[in-house]
Amino acid sequence: MSYIPLTDEDARKMLAAVGKSTVDELFSDIPGQIRLSERLSLPEPLSQLQTERRANQLASLNASGQVFAGGGVYDHYVPAAVDYLSSRSEFLTAYTPYQPEVSQGTLTAIFEFQTMMCSLTSMDVSNASMYDGATALAESALMARAHTGKSRFAVSGTLNINYRHVLETYASAAGLELVFTHCEDGITSPADIEDIIDSNTAAIIVQNPNFFGSIEDLSALSASAKKHGVLMITVVAEAVSLGILKGPGECGADIVCGEAQSFGNYPAFGGPLLGFVAATKEFTRKMPGRLVGRTSDADGRESYVLTLQTREQHIRREHATSNICSNEGHLALRAVMYLSMAGPGLAETAALNHNLAVYLKESLIKAGLVEVFKAPFFNEFVLRTEDSSSFIRRLSEKGYVPGIELRDFEGLENCVLFCATEKLTKEDIDRFVHEAGRVTGRVK
């Protein structure tokens, strides 16, 4: 197979036209001693059919059972219209919309995305996407430092563990100081946060719903932040929760960032994902990433264009607000299609998620698992098993993705983070719980 439409005859003619007698002459600027004489050591080519066969074999080695895990990636239903429309190649095979006259499709959709994200987060401005929730948080922290000139962050210990790790990586490279609260009861204590804040603190960082699924008291936390004159960065990793929960802006957040994969995008083994950053208008010129603005064309027709590019690396180079260039535009497009399909019905979906999660939690407790936190939660929650490794292993053997073992949290040994989405029915849950009961010994 080859995707090269030149014939041998074409290649000969072209070589003649450039005045070379062999293709190798075209590479003569490469020093002779490093010019490759042997073939690349790659497997011999397969036909499309063979390749598909091989991919199918590999795909069949992956989990195909139902998903009871979340933790930053959620298995929501994707309407067929989203798959179809986003796959149209005018969207899929375009580059970043540098030429607005032939990119109004992408540009309009991103403008719509920005609008919807602002509406959901109760913020003034949203960018066109970031790599993922974790890097969106890291970039938000950098933005907060740039805004405040301060580099310390008071971070809730209920932050998604992977986000924490990524934030730490960025912090150590970029010179941010992170201080984490403890979180014994799975919820952020405003007092603990305030204890950490000092005069060099830029912002507090809190996730809602937090990593354990619990719903934080954002207003109280915002009051703490305001009291000390620091910003509040709120992380939303499960965007569907915004269907029923208040936009963090309403609770006083200055920056809202996180992950919107839940809107019309597949789990895809954790990538690509859809990071986002939204903020109050003070941050407009400090935002990382692309922004699309409204304007008009030479005939006065309403149109859209990448704007405020003086923030960006291709203009400002080392002074840019971020180094990001390619982002996750296609996932943002899918999100906007998803939200158009969902509309206000997103509230119903969110409620359904919640109700199923409540049912799952109650059922698992009946099956012998033990409640850990009492706080209200959205669609995730933590329960304690006797032996989390064996619990996960035995349910995995049944094909399930049964939840996430909480390995790195003191006091949460043998705890598992569970999740339910609208893709599960009560009967699905009953079957899963039945298997869980066999592990706990409640079901023989």
Partner: protein, 473 residues
Amino acid sequence: MSTIFDLSGKGKNKYYADAKAVKIDDIPQACLRGRLNLPEVNETEVVRHYTGLSHLNFGVDTGMYPLGSCTMKHNPKLNERIAAMPGFAGLHPAADEGLSQGALRVMHELSGYLCAITGMDAFTLQPAAGAHGELTAVMMIKKYFEDTGEKRGTILIPDSAHGTNPASVAICGFEIKSVPSSPDGDVDIDALRGLITPDVAAMMLTSPSTLGLFDRRILEIASLLHKNGSLFYCDGANLNAVMGKARVADMGFDLMHINLHKTFSTPHGGGGPGSGPVGVTERLSKYLPVPTVEKEGNEYRLVSDRPKSIGRVHSFYGNFQVALKAWTYITVLGPDGIRDVSEKAVLNANYLKEKLRTRYNLPIDRTCMHEFVLNDRNVPNGITTNDIAKRLLDYGFHAPTVYFPLIIEGAMMIEPTETESLSSLDGFVDAMFAILDEAETEPELVKSAPCSLKFRRVDAVTAARKPVLKWEP
């Protein structure tokens, strides 16, 4: 084009979830949202609206897209089909290792393929785009010198570099020194010598360069750096030029990133997702982000216990689906197919260059690699690069990359890729010449282009002056 919000009407939308009772009593009222302000439209309208928007876009499937430095090649449909397989698209990242062997194997194999192509010893697939790869690499450079106990605070970057290079370096707090290019496009080696001090941690070089040229003194540069104890980083965005012809590691680079969404045929999606794997030579591999994918016996494992690692740079394992598409592409092409890609990419570029230089100014006259740079010098009647770019749209071609690299005034950076046919290249030449004729005879036409599309020239200045960044009723 109206936005989706303009179509909204109360009750038009009937959502698809199995939601009946929305009553929620176990979450405090204070946390619950009042109104959910999303447009209310019907599937019928969603479909028409986005189909209509798609018609305002131009993709590789629409026509030639010679956007220099972006390698806008054909995106095979098989890639998409395989990436959409439920066993891949539906796989949750928390699935047990035993239930993600297929995915882990794809990642492991792809890393191996990238090693074979570049000569590097190990790759991470975690960076989500090229710039993310750069950042990851600079973090590793920083960590390396921390580890060796050396204090080095400077990174050298040529003046022709892409903006992400300095921006990535800046995040990590390095000082940037700019390395000038010599008139022949290669690095000014004397100037470089002057810049190499004990404080230099590394130099980032795009190879081949953003001028589409292969630096003939690449080995000398590498040796200067290595003698100084500095690392040599390759921005591999232009890898499409040299696969099977020379390996990046053999050029003397210690680490690099690759843009899978350029060289390896994964679609750019109108602005991502990309994927920017970082490859390193053996001595740097311990700094790679966690988790890495390792093969133990016949099992693939995610390994996080790597004390020297810079840590995690992505929520999970990077843009797996993009990696899967690249894996598909390499599987279909094989070793000869991959080499053929670079040979034909370079042939196409040189053919186009030779044709176009007969009437356009070619600032640097050398055999090019996969792309080359023209400019608007000598184009009559004040017609600029931007005008030519806009007029090309009328002719059914996407514009080249314009005004980059910055060191060539009025640059038009043209990269045809290997997936353009001879007739499509000739068509592009015809259009470029026709525009030159129009510049002579109808300059106003060119200045007001595009004229035949649904949109005329879009006013970016007003947009930036009074930013409207979201729809309001």
